[in-house]
């Protein structure tokens, strides 16, 4: 076990606490860099989606995980970023310009949402952000001169410095990876600055933060703006990846998926955003695999346990029917959310920390280290 001696504050907020980080993240980065050469093009395409979802996850993590403000309206921010890109592209604006413009515009909208949200907490904030997302969705469908309404908009192939970057090629993957890496490093730096500490203080106790001299309103609006801006940047990449956008892509369903990203990843660390994004994006290929192979496997098991060929065939048919039923994905999402909330509220990253601590402290690991506190006295209502 490694002991870190922190003798001053600079030691505490180091980006790289010890050399182990350089090795492990170096290996990860090396793997990600050679990924397009070793993985199939389908998996690389999924990795691009992981990057985009992870960016939204990072944005949402700043707002929900670190400032404690829930939002079920992030699909709207993604939509604003995507539509800004599609609109500006029509006028031959170069990519770097509309990329930043998408982020900036979404950030401004985020700040505008943040101001009214100052008065709201808890459930009211959730409902208000849902309403905001609905209104944006409706505006996108009706403002036909700009958004082409329900027909949707075609997004041309990205061109960077005169070079075309097709959305399925490795260059686009590297672009997304670079943007994600920059976002994560930038966010890590933000979180160890006074702004980040103010965010965490607001999350832990608004009253305490205020009495320590934190300008709660200012930092909440900042948090909304930064979170929205990152989501907007992800939206630009999202538009290019799909090469076609229409209002019905940015529904409440998508906002819930973003929340699932940070919930499953673990809403207390940026690792969670990435892990959650990997989980959410990779569940699709996994379900396809289940659909194709599971009936055979189960019938095979039944056959080994002495079922005759007719029964095995029946089992095969039944399992195949269940596995290919419509809406199985939704049911699995639902079960996964409930199971994570009930049994692993700290998410995948929390599970990783627990396993790590188990081996570090072996045989002295205590389950109670990560136990959640229950509060039965009413608190949220009297704010």
């Amino acid at each position: 076990m490694r002991f870190l001696f922190k003798t001053d504050y600079e030691d505490d907020i180091k980006l790289i606490p010890h050399s182990g980080y350089v090795v492990s993240y170096g290996i990860l980065l090396a793997f990600l860099l050679i990924a397009p050469f070793v993985l199939s093009s389908y998996l690389v395409s999924q990795l691009v989606f992981v990057c985009i979802y992870a960016m939204v996850g990072v944005g949402l993590m700043i707002l929900t995980g670190f400032t404690g403000q829930a939002s079920l309206g992030h699909a709207a921010f993604l939509a604003i970023g995507a539509y800004t890109a599609a609109y500006l592209q029509q006028y031959n604006v170069p990519f770097p310009v509309y990329f930043l413009a998408g982020g900036l515009l979404t950030g401004v909208v985020g700040a505008l949402v943040g101001f009214p949200a100052l008065r709201l907490t808890g459930i009211y904030l959730v409902i208000a952000t849902i309403s905001f997302a609905f209104i944006v969705e409706e505006v996108l469908a009706r403002w036909e001169s700009v958004t082409h309404g329900n027909e949707g908009m075609r997004v041309k192939t990205l061109s960077l410095f005169g070079q075309a970057v097709p959305q399925n090629g490795p260059t686009f993957y590297y672009l997304c990876l670079a943007v994600l890496t920059l976002t994560i490093v930038g966010t890590l730096n933000l979180l160890r600055s006074p702004t980040g500490r103010a965010f965490v203080a607001i999350r832990d106790s608004e009253t305490a933060a205020r009495s320590m001299g934190v300008n709660v309103s200012l930092y909440k609006v900042k948090s909304f703006a930064i979170s929205a801006a990152i989501t907007g940047l992800a939206g630009v990449l999202f538009a290019h990846k799909l090469s076609f956008i229409s209002p019905e892509m940015f529904t409440l369903q998508l906002s819930i998926e973003f929340i699932i990203v940070i919930l499953i990843g673990g809403a207390f660390s940026l690792h969670g955003a990435v892990l959650g994004a990997i989980f959410l994006v990779m569940i699709d290929p996994f379900l396809t695999y289940l659909k194709d192979d599971l009936p055979g496997i189960i019938a095979g098991i039944a056959a080994t346990f002495g079922a005759d060929s007719i029964t095995a065939g029946k089992i095969h048919g039944n399992v195949a029917a269940v596995a290919s039923a419509n809406g199985l994905k939704g049911a699995i999402y639902g079960v996964i959310i409930v199971l994570f909330v009930l049994f692993e509220p700290l998410g995948l990253y929390g599970r990783w920390l627990k396993i790590k601590l188990f081996f570090q402290l072996f045989p002295l690991y205590k389950r109670a280290t990560f136990k959640r506190q229950k509060i039965y006295v009413k608190s949220e209502r009297n704010r």
């Binding site: 929900t64 829930a70 009214p116 008065r119 709201l120 808890g122 459930i123 009211y124 959730v126 409902i127 208000a128 849902i130 309403s131 905001f132 609905f134 209104i135 409706e138 469908a141 009706r142 009253t207 409440l252 819930i256 929340i259 919930l263 269940v322 039923a325 419509n326 809406g327 199985l328 994905k329 939704g330 049911a331 999402y333 639902g334 079960v335 996964i336 959310i337 409930v338 909330v341 009930l342 509220p345 959640r372 229950k374 509060i375 039965y376 006295v377 009413k378 608190s379 949220e380 209502r381 009297n382 704010r383």
Partner: protein, 291 residues
Amino acid sequence: MLDFVQQLVSGIALGCVYGLIALGFVLIYKATEVVNFAQGDLMMLGGFFAFTFIGMLGLNYWLGFAGAVAAMALFGMLAERVVVRPILGYPQFSIIMATIGLGYFLRSVVGMIWGTDDFKIETPFSDGVLRIGSLVLAYDKLSVIAATIILCALLYLFFNRTTLGTAMRASSENMLAAYYMGIPVKRVVSIVWAIAAAVATAAGVLLAPITFIHSNVGLVLGLKAFPAAVLGGFGSIPGAVVGGVLIGVIESMAGFYLPQGWKDVAPYIVLLVVLLLKPEGLFGVHMRKKV
């Protein structure tokens, strides 16, 4: 003028359904401070139970109605026991996510069992109209309004005149204190969920002749019931119904008098305005946090 009254009545009828769903939100919120995002889906499931009893098994309408309500009350208790009780007392956000997950699950499972088509329940009020002069009112809409009034009266009596109702109000004020006073809080909470699911089922069955039931109906209507609950003050039972009726009327008027597209966003615009100007709603009580 005639158009206005027609729109008003259909708005009120729709609003009553919102109000009944919002009533479920409020009941559960008051008792456990949990916001049940799956309330609309409970309504949808209740509708499908009723469809199974009446449409597929061929039971009498009233018998099927009662059966669906009873089955859903049990289901509400089960959902509370399995999903909500283990995480009571944890941050509200986790509980919201759990109920969102429950809603997802219900929608998909219903879609898998009954299919994703639209279904219709034959009711005694399905066709037939009441004519007053040249005003034509459909029975199905009037039945929703009448049933809402009856249900509200019953709930009012229940909460104010019975021991169990008083116990529920006590545990919603302060769970810990109620527990010390000897109220079996866990059982009370599970009965609250049963009532909320039963009310939602009633809404679903009444709604069935007006808009058909399909697996996504709960999501659409459940989300419209939020503005209703917030408008009424999230914690006031009469407020929920009044808020629901207001939202229904606003939506129906917006659909009639304003250009296309306003109908769907009008409830949410109202919601945002209410949240900004009067966050405690029309009937809500403003409380301050003690530090």
